[in-house]
């Protein structure tokens, strides 16, 4: 069986319009989360990571007409464009496109600037696929907040079954009034930038971003490459909107993954958690990680840098995990103050160098879904 790798990637976010720019911002401890005052649902403002429309249009103007595409379409197209630019030899006829999004163009609901069928996620995917001339029908994964990583798994599996020879996995979601008001109705939004795993955490901050990565066999002569080992999902079977108190689904996904791939918890060098900074989510993750014997593994959440970018989050975090492995570099869990879960974790407090070989990425979401994925550095 051929192995698949995480090849070129791109992150388009408030802190950078390429993976390089994003890594640089993280190294400088910059965060996308800024005070915003543009929502009628937050009389006193709120914190979120937003991307300026003017900057998007300026960048997009180099490759297309900004008025033909929605904000989210432009962001995802920009991300894919960057990946394709580094692979000019890619055979687009045999390359799959897997798109992860939770809400797509939901900001266009009730508006008339674009035809109403743009609300359909498959239509948005088709617009993006047609921009580049992908020949195969795009696949859309919409499975709440695990979608970004589940899209990587889907791409890998479809390459394995022979549907694609390789695939671009792209993700995008916006901070819309729809999503802001919904999270606010749950009283889940933090009054300050979110603080994952901290004692003083008060809820999520939302962020918008797009990302893309090429998945497939690696035929290059690179010294180090990041191999996709496997991913497993498991449902909590407990509650549709609240995390399981025992971390059951997350624990199941991790333990099955390690068992099936014959990896011991002690072999994992780095854990990229979901860490939304709600009281219950972070507590659930801490319990699941303890049950899986991961309490000493260096762990972070990237939500302090980006906020929760929904369908993009697990893809961005997988891309950053890939770069952590390649560069032997652990990034601080931004905004962390002091341990705030009933079971202690080894939260990364400062950027640091460390030899890394195997990383575990996890994500959880509404609907009780959980995912665990193993990435491994192969060195020649």
């Amino acid at each position: 069986m051929s192995r698949n790798y995480l090849l070129s990637d791109s992150i388009i976010s408030p802190i950078g319009f390429s993976t390089e720019e994003n890594l640089k911002a993280i190294r400088n401890s910059e965060s996308a989360l800024k005070f915003q005052n543009n929502s009628r649902f937050f009389k006193n403002g709120y914190f979120a990571g937003l991307i300026n429309d003017l900057i998007i249009d300026e960048r997009f103007g180099e490759i297309g007409n900004p008025t033909d595409y929605t904000k989210l379409e432009k962001l995802i197209i920009l991300a894919i464009q960057q990946v394709l630019k580094t692979h000019p030899d890619l055979n687009i006829a045999q390359t799959g496109l897997v798109i992860s999004t939770t809400k797509g163009n939901i900001d266009q609901l009730g508006k008339t600037q674009f035809p109403s069928d743009r609300l359909f996620l498959w239509k948005m995917a088709k617009i993006i696929a047609d921009f580049f001339g992908f020949r195969m029908k795009p696949i859309v994964v919409s499975n709440a907040c695990i979608s970004g990583a589940l899209a990587i798994k889907t791409a890998n599996d479809f390459i394995e079954t022979g549907k694609f020879s390789n695939a671009i996995v792209a993700a995008g979601d916006l901070v819309s009034e729809f999503v802001l008001s919904g999270f606010q109705s749950f009283q889940a939004i933090s009054p300050e930038p979110c603080r994952p795993f901290s004692k003083d955490r008060q809820g999520v901050s939302l962020g918008e971003a797009a990302a893309a990565v090429l998945i497939g066999p690696d035929t290059s002569n690179s010294v180090d490459k990041i191999e996709y080992i496997d991913a497993i999902t498991a449902n909590d079977a407990n509650h549709i909107s609240g995390p399981s108190r025992t971390g059951e689904g997350l624990y199941q996904s991790i333990s099955r993954l390690l068992q099936q791939n014959k990896v011991e918890a002690s072999q994992i060098n780095y854990l990229s958690a979901h860490g939304t900074a709600t009281i219950y989510n972070d507590e659930m993750e801490a319990i699941a990680f303890h049950r899986a014997g991961l309490e000493n593994v260096p762990v972070n959440s990237f939500k302090g840098y980006y906020g929760h970018t929904l369908g993009t989050s697990a893809l961005i975090e997988s891309i950053l995990t890939k770069h952590s492995l390649l560069d032997n570099e652990l990034f601080a869990s931004h905004n962390f103050t002091e341990s705030g879960t009933s079971k202690d974790l080894n939260v990364i407090e400062n950027h640091q160098g460390k030899d890394l070989k195997i990383a575990l990425k996890t994500a959880s979401g509404f609907g009780g879904c959980n995912l665990a994925m193993l990435l491994k550095k192969e060195s020649l």
């Binding site: 498959w122 499975n143 008001s181 496997d230 449902n235 509404f366």
Partner: protein, 201 residues
């Protein structure tokens, strides 16, 4: 090497009718509203599941479909769920958006993700299993075939419950089926299309 897989059971809920394993099973008043139709099935099947009344219509359709398909029993708790539709949760998105003017409704907002129905099935049948929700323009057998084949090949599961579940502007289309290593109907594109659009009604 790909192993042989089979469709063991199927259910269709469409046009006020239920078709079970290719045969007409139930026919309701075609003039009844969707909510009346859903309640009728619930009563006819003698179901007792109070959570049903909290669900949005899309989840109600799926819940009922799965009860009909499995006769209320999924013995293999590792049965994977592979679902798709074309309109995501747009019906409930629009209903939620209607509440945004005054008091955004948390109980509607929670149903504005299509995979919530997978959570509902998992809770009802205590499945702590593989889940995925995909979106495609129309019913596309190939995505189920590929995703399911990979789950079996990778030894992630022994049983899969698949679904194509659409609801928009009160028009609904539910097609559920189960996949296993033994059975009578081959799990392939042709058989799926035949089951999805039966010609002998």
């Amino acid at each position: 090497m790909s192993e042989e897989l089979f469709i063991t059971k199927s259910v269709i809920i469409r046009d006020s009718k239920i078709i079970k394993n290719g045969k007409p099973f139930f026919k309701a008043d075609p003039d009844a509203s969707l909510s009346e139709f859903l309640k009728t099935i619930y009563k006819e099947e003698h179901l007792k599941y109070p959570k049903f009344f909290k669900m949005d219509s899309l989840s109600k359709l799926v819940y009922l479909g799965v009860e009909l398909l499995t006769e209320g029993n999924i013995p293999d708790k590792k049965t994977a769920l592979v679902f798709a539709n074309s309109v995501s949760s747009l019906e409930t998105d629009e209903a939620y958006a209607g509440t945004m003017g005054e008091f955004p409704s948390p109980s509607l907002f929670v149903y504005t993700l299509p995979n919530i129905m997978l959570g509902e099935i998992s809770i009802r049948h205590q499945l702590k299993s593989e889940n995925i929700f995909l979106i495609s323009e129309e019913f596309d057998p190939t995505i189920y075939l590929d995703y399911t084949k990979a789950l079996f090949q990778q030894k992630k599961t022994d049983n899969v419950l698949c679904g194509w579940v659409n609801l928009h502007n009160n028009e609904y289309d539910v097609f559920l089926w189960q996949i296993a290593r033994s059975g009578r109907t081959d799990f392939n594109e042709e058989e799926l299309k035949k089951l999805y659009l039966p010609t002998h009604e």
